[in-house]
């Protein structure tokens, strides 16, 4: 048998490989199988490398031509691999896209599980913001107070039943836990010259602990002292406040009442926000006891006695003060039925706000 011509052998091997590589690539059904097949042909120990090893036996004059052929073939294989790879990837993506949808009923993974502000704090921030927009600034003061600032200078007569409305906690050193934020009126008016416009949000204490009272609760006091402040100005601020806190068109009414440090004094009702009808009338409901009105705060013109007790001339200056309990506003706003819930700090309750 005649010895085979190495050139022919290489040519034959290349031709065989050329015929077979595409079907082999196409048979691969995963990317890995395709890459493996590619490596079998083009890898270091691949079939093409094996063919090239025979190149040395070929006559020198034909090596160059064979080399070019091999290179061209190599490109052909790579192109085939590329297109098969692309095809496979497209199939894979299509398979992924048409697979069953994710179960989005599983809980979402929140970036940070944000905490909750206390409902009373939310109301406090809102009320403070409204009064700030109206030009009032915040005046801080202590929770443990001199009797003088909490009662005497506010015009509470000694041994008078008016103090029954505010049964106090006394300290063993004769101070008291402030029963209202009105102590700030005294602190402001004895340290700052009028005019002034302040709010005083804060914690207050009264010696009441029953189903509808908490011994500690929160108030915001607002007061304005200037020349020629009238009851009409108080009504103006109240109307604006009600519109901003409870929505446009919220009606406000004043009912005369008594607080020792204001005269005239009044309690303020707003139109019930729970049974309001589209035509702005009120149907009456349990929350407003079928009156159509809800009491939200107490107010009045600052009593001349209070001015005098602070060294301000009531003939020259006048002013108004108003004070509200934040718990009541929060309970109305969020439909919280019992004040005690606001102080139990039950996580199931706090998580609702």
């Amino acid at each position: 048998m005649a010895e085979t011509n190495p050139t022919d052998t290489i040519e034959t091997a290349l031709a065989n490989l050329r015929d077979s590589f595409l079907p082999r690539f196409r048979a691969a059904d995963t990317e890995q199988a395709l890459r493996d097949e590619n490596a079998k042909i083009l890898g270091k120990k691949g079939e093409l490398t094996a063919i090239l090893k025979q190149l040395g036996r070929a006559p020198a004059e034909s090596r160059k031509a064979i080399g070019e052929k091999v290179n061209a073939f190599k490109q052909e294989v790579e192109a085939g691999f590329g297109s098969c790879l692309k095809n496979l990837q497209r199939l894979e993506r299509e398979a992924e896209l048409s697979a069953p949808p994710f179960d989005l009923t599983l809980p979402g993974r929140a970036p940070v599980l944000a905490g909750h502000k206390h409902p009373v704090a939310m109301v406090r921030e809102d009320v403070v913001a409204i009064f700030r927009q109206l030009g009032f600034a915040v005046f801080d003061g202590p929770e443990i107070e001199h009797e003088e600032n909490n009662f005497t200078r506010l015009g509470f007569p000694p041994d008078h039943p008016a103090t029954d409305m505010q049964d106090s906690f006394w300290t063993t050193s004769g101070k008291l836990l402030r029963t209202h934020t009105s102590n700030i009126q005294i602190r402001a008016m004895t340290t700052i010259e009028p005019p002034m416009a302040f709010i005083a949000p804060g914690t207050v204490y009264r010696r009441d602990d029953d189903a509808t009272h908490s011994p500690q609760f929160h108030q915001i006091e607002a007061f304005l002292v200037d020349r020629n402040v009238t009851l009409a100005h108080l009504k103006g601020v109240l109307a604006e406040f009600a519109e901003r806190l409870y929505g446009p068109g919220t009606p406000v009414r004043l009912r005369p009442s008594y607080f020792p440090f204001v005269e005239p004094g009044a309690e303020v009702d707003i139109g019930c926000v729970f049974c309001k009808q589209a035509n702005q009338t009120r149907a009456g409901c349990n929350i407003c006891k079928h009156t159509g009105w809800i009491e939200i705060l107490g107010c009045g013109l600052i009593h001349p006695v209070v001015f005098e007790n602070c060294g301000i001339d009531p003939e020259q200056w006048s002013g108004f003060a108003l004070g509200m309990g934040l718990e009541r506003i929060a309970m109305l706003r969020y439909g919280i039925p019992n004040i005690k819930l606001l102080f139990e700090n039950d996580p199931r309750m706090l998580a609702q706000f």
Partner: protein, 830 residues
Amino acid sequence: MKVSYNWLRELVPLLTACPSDLADRLSNAGLEVEGITEYGVATEACLVARVVSVRSHPTKSGLRLVTVDRGAGVLQEVVCGAPNVPAAGGLVVLAPLGAHLAAKNMTIARRAIGGVESEGMLCSEDELGLSLDHSGILILPQALAEPGTTLAAAIPNARDTIFEIGVTPNRPDCLGHVGVAREVCAIYGFPFALPSPGQKPAATDHQTKSLVAIAVQDAERCPHYGAAGVVDVAIGPSPLGVRYRLQALGVRSISNVVDVTNLVMLEYGHPMHAFDLDRVGGARIVIRRATSSEKLVTLDGIARTLVKDDLLICDGSGPVALAGVMGGASSEIQNTTNRVLFEVACFDPRGVRRTARRHGMHTESSHRFERGVDPGDVVRVLDRAVALTVELAGGSATAGQIHVQGTRVDAEPAPPPRRIVPLRAQRIGATLGVDVPFVEAIGILERLGCEAKAGTSGSEGLTDEVEVLVPTHRPDLVREVDLIEEIIRIRGMSSVPAVLPAVRASRDVGGREELARRARAAATSIGLSEAITFGFTSESVLSALSAPPPAVRLANPLGEQYAVMRTTVLPGLLEAVKNARRHGERNVRQFTIGPVFLSRQDSRDGLASEASEKDSELPCESMRIGFVLAGERPGWLEKPKSFDAWDAKGYAMALVERISGQAARVEPLDRAHAPAHLHPRGAAFLCIGTERVGSFGPLHPDVVDSLELDGEVLVGEIDLEPFTKAAQAPQYVNIARFPASVRDVAFVVKDDVLAGEVERVVRNAALPLGETVHLFDRFVGGSVPEGSSNLAFHVVYRAVDRTLTDAEVDAAHANVVKEVAARFGAMLRG
């Protein structure tokens, strides 16, 4: 104050408004109607009936069959179980078929009782809603009314509408029906007239002043003591009309004479007292202050030990009443009383209040005296009581009244002084912001009992200032502004327009509201929820939490658990954890913001710095934020893991950094210095720079047990006072423009080597090219030798001015490995 609609209509004949309209008008004038109840509704459906015959029930012993005439000769037989069915001719009350008895929530239906059909029921007062008496059926007086008349028509007072009015403490005049009637007239513009005291009874020859001698030893505490007498009275029950009027107003009927004192008090608002004159020892009444430790048994059966400030009514043998508060048992009206002495006095409101509070008493009498009774109505009230007594209990009035005013004793009192208050027309508009014609204003005041006369400054014909003579029943009208309030109160506050003022803005004083707002935002942003916690706690809890001893103790706490003011904000948070766990909620992540109350020595600044001299008597209130972590760390569909010390560290640092805008540092503590309430292995201080601002860690297991917290809890507390100023604005640092090279490296180190130390050495060794060092894994077990852990770091190398070459990075990283190995004997892991 309960107010009868019927009675108001008797006092104000022109009043036609229905109860709900009247209630609105009263509320809008400052007499807030807090509730309206109906009294005796069933009396409109129930009929007067006459017993015709009575026979036994055929089968049931104890029941009887009563045939009654229910009007117009119509007879009806009903089954009745009451023990007191009257004989034929007696008048009873029949609830006919269909009548609704609201008090029993029951409608009369046809029913068979023991086989006998009954189409109605004979009623007790209890069933009619007239009183709580259910001892037997109501038996009416003979000839009260014809059978068939409704009970409401037969006894008008058996049906009434009762207003519950929240009378403010400045309005003692409205603690009686006459005062409320005066208001009603002022509101509606009706003329007001005081009621007639009734038929003036013929007086006997007995002079009141010869029956009893009265001496007032403390005229300051008792400026006026008036008395009048009735002799030959017959004590007995009051007529039904009187009983039901009292009952409707919440007062139990006792006997005709005692009922007189209550009726007159409810009419005029002036409490009074009735003595059995024959039991007044020595026929003497002395009003004096108690001696120290003197004893008196009051009508409620309680023996009271008195002090010198208490004012007493005494007879010849000793104290008989605590003046203005409550009588004693010794001289009260008996069934056999024949001679009655009525007392109508004026006591100093403040003294009555002190006595009532001292003895823990609050009576109808003290309630009115504390607020101030009308010093001008004593004669009128006595006249009324005497006339009513003669009407209800017979007898005759003694001649003349006794009035003691200081040393003056006379049959007529000296009129009490009346206050004069000037009123300027101009001030009305200047105060209210609405123009009220002066004539209208004065008219309102006159309707309330004031008298106005032109002041001196008015020009001829046109006056712009008047002097207002205030009636004695209005102790609250003292200043001009009080009159202006009356004007707008009656005119209606709705007549004032709403005008937004031009506010001259102020600037914040103190900065705690903003500080709290910032702290709140920071805490909620890291997943904590806000608790509002009590300022008071107990001394034992403070001591368990190794907090400073209380600086403030309450003199009248609600209980031992709330006896002192807190010096740490943790108690309330731990209480929340305890409550939550009791309800089966294991996971609690909460914070609270508020002051602690420290002695001036314990505090570092707080209010102290700005406090005036007087305020240095107050404790220092220092703002804190505290947080608590209990239960499991939030995760996503993975095996839950409990919070541990590193969670506490993470929350604590995030809080401080977000609130302050500055980098926080943790200063771990050795066992000797850890706060006693924290776990000795996990306690640490939080610092900014060199300043300690807080602490955190797991709660000590002994504290967990002693506070009954039922499981591990982590806590942290941070002083907010250093952050009162707004957080520093962050300053921009150039961001890198050249690429970084990242190398990971892991070391096996002994457990006593602190990870932070290793990190610090890595960081220093990587300089100057090392930009950040991040410990990303800590691993124990597996191939890591016992007692060691594997720490893996990402080290990022970067230069600001060029791209680093591999050789540079390799050299820097080799130095890191070398340093750590040299320093800790650490093995490099591949």
